[in-house]
């Protein structure tokens, strides 16, 4: 078989690249060893958000509807039904991607790809046959996998990773989450809402340590409310089988401690999938963290070979993979495209959610920038009261001299949706006034951004401005 461009991996990086190639008139073939949609759609973003949303709804019905005068006597959870609802969503989306690829005349080959040369791959098809494909360009979009801890072999029964944690047969009574990053915390909080007793073991001195402290504090408050135990500064050492349960032995600052639960959920991070493809033979260079090295056109050290998404570096996020997929496709089509985005947002679906675009306060300070930082609380916004979601605030960071918007972090309800306005502002090179002077509809959460912008200028209406 001979094709212009081969895309290895059908995740949000690969399938988007293939569609963009097809739009630009370039013949493309996607090779996928599992399911179209990759981690994101099958075992990542989408299923986790489904579970998180279901858990939130259940928790509200059980604990918060009463605040509004709605009485539901003892809501019941049908856990297997919830999981199969989630599975239907992923199946629907995955087949939707199959349809899109087909509609764009992109062929899909099910199997595992490895390089023979810089112009040829071999695909071990799911059926067992081997096919070689000759190509001019190749986009590597093989994604990432959970980092394994040798002391904790994942069996997806007692010891699970995120994939296992999203496919449990019955609601666990208890679960230990090893790793307080966003994946562990999102699912940990969701399970806590469903009724699971959660313990989080984190090596750093706080969960979500990548974010500013004041942001994390809002989430920590809710973590406490959900009776989640967080052991920070703690190292998971080993485990013991305790019949139907599992016991974790960990080293806390106060000494060795044992915690027993139904499951151990290992979520200590993800690593790029670079193995088994003969990359070494081709001379494709990796960086120190094991990511494939790429330039701003997503070209690797070998001409004609591109890499995008999780395998090509941080941040390992679906929207970054898709953006890079589009750019790689455009470069192959001869366009003068480069990755020149001013921001890649990050969202965390904890309770409350976090959305961040541009620089965080600590990043801006580390760069030595002269900034103006302002905060505006959810509690001062009518809409937040009407939905009973008043926790959180918006942090607004601007250049103190030029007033250019440098970064916005939102912690609070709907932060994941609200952050898009910040993304646009930063990408457009907006000034604080641009947001402050834009009429935002009332009563909505969106007003918080406008108020925070005004606050940044010392002119917030629904808050007393700090005196200078």
């Amino acid at each position: 078989m001979k094709i212009n461009t081969v895309v290895i991996g059908g995740g949000p990086g690969g399938y988007v690249a293939a569609i963009r190639l097809a739009q630009l008139g370039i013949e493309a073939l996607v090779i996928e060893k599992e399911n179209l949609g990759g981690v994101c759609l099958n075992v990542g973003c989408i299923p986790s958000k489904a579970v998180i949303h279901a858990a939130k709804s259940f928790y509200k019905a059980k604990n918060e509807f009463g605040n509004m005068g709605i009485k539901i006597s003892d809501p019941q959870l049908d856990f297997p039904a919830m999981i199969s609802w989630k599975d239907k969503i992923t199946q629907k989306l995955s087949s939707g991607i199959g349809g899109l690829l087909k509609g764009n005349r992109v062929s899909v080959l099910k199997g595992t790809a490895s390089f023979v040369s810089k112009n040829q791959i071999e695909v071990l098809e799911t059926s067992g046959t081997k096919t070689t494909v000759d190509f001019e360009n190749c986009i590597i979009a093989t994604g990432s996998s959970p980092i394994a801890l040798p002391a904790f072999p994942v069996d997806q029964a007692k010891i699970v990773d995120s994939t296992g944690a999203l496919a449990l047969k019955k609601l666990p009574a208890s679960m230990i989450v090893v790793g307080g990053g966003y994946i562990g915390l999102e699912l940990g909080m969701a399970y806590a809402k469903l009724g699971t007793k959660i313990t989080v073991v984190e090596f750093a001195d706080s969960v979500l340590s990548a974010f500013d402290k004041d942001i994390v504090q809002v989430i920590e408050k809710k973590i406490k409310k959900l009776s989640i135990d967080v052991l920070t500064g703690t190292k998971a050492q080993s485990f013991k089988d305790s019949g139907s349960q599992v016991t974790l032995v960990c080293e806390t600052p106060a000494g060795v401690r044992e915690v027993t639960a139904d499951h151990l959920f290992i979520s200590i991070g993800r690593k790029p999938n670079t193995g088994g493809m003969n990359l070494e033979k081709l001379g494709v260079e990796l960086d120190k963290q094991g990511f494939i090295k790429v330039n701003e056109m997503l070209q690797t050290s070998v001409s004609g070979i591109f890499a995008i998404g999780d395998v090509a570096g941080q941040p390992m996020l679906a929207h970054k993979a898709s953006k890079e997929g589009e750019i790689a496709a455009e470069v192959i089509a001869g366009h003068k495209s480069v990755m020149d985005v001013r921001q890649i947002p990050a969202v965390v679906f904890t309770d409350p959610e976090v959305g961040q675009a541009g620089l965080s306060e600590k990043e801006a300070k580390a760069k030595g920038l002269n900034i103006t930082v302002s905060r505006f609380p959810y509690a001062a916004i009518g809409r937040a009261l009407t939905t009973d979601e008043t926790d959180g605030f918006v942090k607004f960071i601007s250049d103190a001299t030029t007033r250019e918007v440098l970064g916005i972090t939102i912690v609070g309800a709907n932060a994941s949706d609200l952050i898009s306005e910040a993304c646009l502002a930063i990408e457009m090179g907006a000034f604080v006034e641009d947001i402050a002077l834009t009429v935002h509809p009332h009563p909505t959460f969106g007003e918080i951004l406008m108020e925070a912008a005004k606050g940044n200028l010392g002119e917030a209406i629904h808050m007393l401005n700090p005196k200078h």
């Binding site: 003068k336 002269n370 250049d399 001299t401 030029t402 250019e404 440098l406 990408e427 457009m428 090179g429």
Partner: protein, 426 residues
Amino acid sequence: MSIFTVLLPDIGEGVVEGEVIKWLKNVGDALAQDEPVVQIMTDKATVELPAVKPGKLAKQHIAEGKIAEKDKPLYDIELAAGVSAPQDSHGHKEAPKQEAQVSEKPQATKATASAPVLSATGKALATPATRKLARDLGIDINQVPGTGKGGRVTKEDLEGFLSGESDSAPVSSEARSGNLPAVTMSKTPVFVYEGDERIPLRGLRKVIAERLVESKTIVPHFAYFEEVDMTELKKLRNELKPLAEEAGAKLTYLPFFMKALTLAIKKFPIINSSIDLGTNEIVVHKKIHIGMATATKDGLIVPVIRDADQKSLIQLANDSQGIAQKTRDGKASSDELKGSTISITNIGSIGGLGATPIINYPEACILGMYKIQDRPVVRDGQIVIRSMMNISFCFDHRIVDGANGAEFCNYFIGLLNNPGRLILGS
């Protein structure tokens, strides 16, 4: 003995590389703390970097004439016994402060379209669509002066940049960053024949190229020629010369021309001005700072005689010689090289009967001085031999019209033809 590698420090805002002009120390030479080790020329200035620690020069990582990059090894010091390595391998945290001022970022808040304004993140302020258009047009958007709010680069700015008519300019060199638009190169291919040599357009040469293209593209020049009868001035100078020498100064003709220029400006202030396109105003300068075109081995540099109207002939003589020497030695500070309001180019000592010099933008006028010759001229109906010098002025025609220029020039040569008037002050 421990070896410490010194990296090229931050020697100016936005400066990422510099040419190693000269190693002032050879390998094996002892280095005292803060003793100059190497001369580096950037596109903004030439600086001498002092030794970070005492010791011995162990290695020069970059050969003379080659480019040193910021944060890359420059030289190694074998540290003197008992001296510990500095924490920061640039080691230049305090020392190069004055050099770091060589370049200045434009005040972003009041920046007009004069020079590119970059965001705190180091990139041009522009929307994603404009950035894409720039890529498609093959333009480095970070080089484009923006006319939008706060220096935002618009799609129109890109078109303007392409057609080479950046339609705005800084009012003074203070307001300008070193980041001028790249020289707009003609699309005509260069013929290259075997044996041709290629010299990278870098450092000072590049700055000269950019500034002159800027001036020639923005300013509608008009040139005006006259001749000065130097006979009387020659006599006066010969009389004053020994006296000046006693006072320690070498009196050339230049100070007289500077004096005449300041007096003529007092009478015609508009000559000493600039156009501020950001505000659509003519800025008439009250200070008279004269730029003095000076040939150095690297190229043309224009040091500045400040407040020339406040200075005596002897001060002007001393100042102009002092600063010219400093400039030729590469020792002039950045402050001494900027902020002129009018300039003089004197190539007469080399030769030439006339030329049309290019205005030192954003000034409005430049004076060219040429060779003094004994020539037959007609005085009172008689052919006589007089010492004559041709001069030329180039004016910014947006500010100065032909008639103004002529009146100004008449007054100016009148002062020199009859140099007693220089003393009279009118």
